[in-house]
């Protein structure tokens, strides 16, 4: 059993050992550079890079000034010219500072350059609410990056998936946005030894059932699992899919499930407009319309920033109770 934060560090370690071209950049990833305590006094504020600098040195584990644009730009340039860069943006919210490098540069190189180049960059971003970290340190940004052609987007929810998907991301020849939910860093799970890769675009079946399909990612998977357990006691069977990657998307698994259950719940930790939830709804409305036996239910945050106060953040977030209520509503729907 290993904590997800340790899985991240160990997977990067394994990939750096395996391939000399893998480098890492980010703020405070060594932690303590230029301080009396010295390098690795801390080892990254999330504990996801401890020991890597000691092992691989300053040329491969690059602690940077607070300069998100230059971090992503530098990672992009290195990845265009032979390296495989793993860039860390300390909080996903800071994507705003480096958006051009991600959106206009990294995401477009391969296409704009006529397919003659690759940019094997991984941008790791801790995201999500649950820490009362207020509007600028709590957001889920997957909808925004999923909407950008030229990026692959990964959102693991378990320790094993974190390993398989991160190794895959580092070996992938295209840009990958790797989203790590802050509230899951301390979660433990079994992790396969040795080389372990999970191909992108394959959902994980968490629970099986014939009544309701539930789609979730990241921290929402655990919430949905709790809801599914309770619903099972009430005789409602949930087909819960952890989508694992939002781009590529496992459309087949989603459609197969909805065709069986006829009811769809989408659990998403971000505001509801132009979101991942609306995207999934559109997919099902277009391609599985005739299977639907009830309106699609979206359990999302409201159309607001993530508020600070405990009560407000709790109200903002989806919860197992809200998922159960939505399932009951879908089950009781009768065509008028």
């Amino acid at each position: 059993m290993k904590m997800i934060r340790d899985v991240i560090r160990d997977t990067i370690d394994e990939e750096m050992a395996r391939d000399d071209s893998v480098i890492m950049l980010g703020e405070d990833i060594v932690g303590g550079m230029g301080s009396p305590g010295g390098p690795e006094a801390i080892g990254g504020i999330w504990g996801t890079s401890g020991g890597l600098w000691a092992k691989y040195g300053s040329d491969r584990v690059i602690d940077t000034p607070i300069s998100e644009s230059a971090i992503i730009g530098a990672a992009a340039g290195a990845s265009l010219t032979g390296k495989r860069a793993i860039a860390e943006i300390m909080f996903a919210d800071f994507i705003g500072v480096c958006m051009d490098q991600i959106w206009n540069q990294v995401a477009k190189f391969r296409y704009m350059f006529g397919g003659k180049t690759k940019c094997p960059i991984v941008i790791r971003m801790p995201y999500g609410a649950g820490y009362n970290a207020a509007p600028q340190h709590s957001q889920s940004i997957h909808a925004m990056v999923t909407a950008m052609p030229g990026l692959k987007v990964v959102m693991p929810s378990t320790a094993a998936d974190t390993k398989g998907l991160l190794a895959q991301a580092i070996r992938d020849d295209d840009p990958v946005i790797f989203l790590e939910h802050k509230a899951l860093y301390g979660v433990k799970g079994e992790v396969p030894d040795g080389d372990y890769l999970i191909p992108f675009g394959h959902a994980r079946q968490v629970t099986q059932g014939d009544d309701v399909t539930i789609l979730a990612t990241g921290m929402m998977v655990g919430f949905a699992e709790k809801a599914a357990a309770q619903l099972a006691q009430d005789g409602i069977g949930c087909d819960l899919l952890d989508l694992r990657t939002t781009s590529p998307l496992d459309e087949e698994a989603i459609l197969d499930s909805v065709e069986r259950t006829g009811r769809l719940l989408i659990v998403d930790e971000s505001p509801p407009r132009c979101s991942f939830a609306t995207d999934l709804s559109a997919l099902v409305a277009q391609k599985a319309f005739s299977s639907l036996r009830a309106p699609i239910e979206m359990i999302t945050g409201p159309h607001s920033p993530v508020p600070f106060a405990r009560e407000l953040e709790t109200a903002y977030l989806p919860s197992p109770e809200k998922i159960v209520a939505a399932a009951v509503k879908a089950m009781s729907y009768r065509r008028g």
Partner: protein, 320 residues
């Protein structure tokens, strides 16, 4: 320049209020009563107060993630600030902001800010508003924030537009866990600011009088229509980067030494009593006054109204 007795007492009252506010938060956070990330300003009081004692409500400041000191120095209500940090709907920002985004625009306080480097460009905009009015706009930044491209852009634009903006760099020698000597490539922030074409000076950030004098100089310069200026303040932070930080990047005995030798409140007390400008008893009286204020702020915060779910959609102007 000689400060009046009232001005000296006010400066001390402000610095002491910040210190006690932060010390008390440190204790309350340890009790688990306060949610979220809190970055304490203790140790840097002479900076905020030395700057803001020159300002009135029509001058603008913008702050950082370490914003409590700037807010207090600019006149934000201390009780309402505390309530905000406790997440009450009676808080200065109704429990939406917490520690990291406290603002009171009516007092010219344009917000603490969770995005490092976001403040300086906004201060440029406030400088556009201030231009020609005799007021100034101040951007507080740290030694870490000075490395953001946004800060560079803001400095250049302020020079180009000849705006009354003052870039205050509080050099507490760390950005999170990283030493300033590692992350700041230039010899100093002052050298860098000067290279943008503005007046750039340094002052001693643990000495209120040094900060106050330095600020007088750059404010006069700005108000004379010369465009922006910068001041770098050598200072210290007494707590961790955020509450809960184990501070393993510090040297052995570093914090004890700083608190002993580089405490701006001690420096102030020694200076004013030795020069016989104030009596120790004057300062003790203020200590009691401030203690009572902070006690009241905490007591009221603990029983203040809590927000409810329907507040989430308030102030987004479009709800669904």
């Amino acid at each position: 320049m000689q400060l009046s007795r009232e001005a000296l007492l006010q400066a001390y009252r402000q610095m002491k209020t910040i210190r006690m506010f932060e010390d008390r938060l440190h204790d309350e956070i340890a009790l688990g009563e306060i949610a979220g990330f809190t970055h304490l300003y203790a140790g840097q009081e002479a900076c905020a107060v030395g700057v803001c004692e020159h300002l009135d409500a029509q001058d603008f400041i913008i702050s950082t993630h370490r914003g409590h000191g700037h807010c207090i120095a600019k006149g934000c209500d201390v009780v309402d600030m505390m309530k905000e940090i406790y997440g009450s709907s009676e808080g200065l920002c109704k429990g939406k902001s917490g520690s990291m985004h406290i603002a009171d625009v009516t007092r010219g306080m344009l917000g603490a800010n969770g995005i490092v480097g976001a403040g300086a460009p906004i201060a440029v905009g406030a400088g556009i508003t201030a231009k020609g009015t005799g007021n100034v706009s101040i951007a507080f930044s740290g030694d870490g924030a000075c490395n953001q491209g946004t800060t560079f852009e803001a400095m250049n634009m302020a020079v180009v537009l000849k705006l009354p903006v003052i870039f205050v760099f509080e050099n507490n020698h760390y950005s999170e866990h990283t030493g300033e000597s590692y992350a700041v490539g230039a010899e100093s922030m002052t050298v860098r600011a000067a290279a943008f074409g503005m007046k750039a000076i340094k002052a001693n950030g643990i000495d209120f009088f040094s900060v106050y004098e330095g600020m007088r100089e750059v404010i006069d310069y700005c108000k004379a229509g010369n465009g922006p200026a910068s001041i770098e303040l050598d200072t210290e932070r007494f707590f961790g980067h955020f509450e809960g930080d184990p501070q393993r990047y510090r040297g052995k005995g570093e914090l004890d030494r700083l608190r002993e030798e580089r405490d701006c409140l001690k420096v102030f007390r020694t200076k004013v009593t030795e020069a016989k400008l104030l009596e120790g008893a004057d300062l003790d009286r203020l200590d009691d006054e401030v203690t009572a204020l902070i006690d009241r702020a905490v007591a009221e915060s603990k029983t203040a109204t809590r927000p409810t779910a329907d507040h989430v959609l308030e102030d987004v102007y479009i709800s669904y």
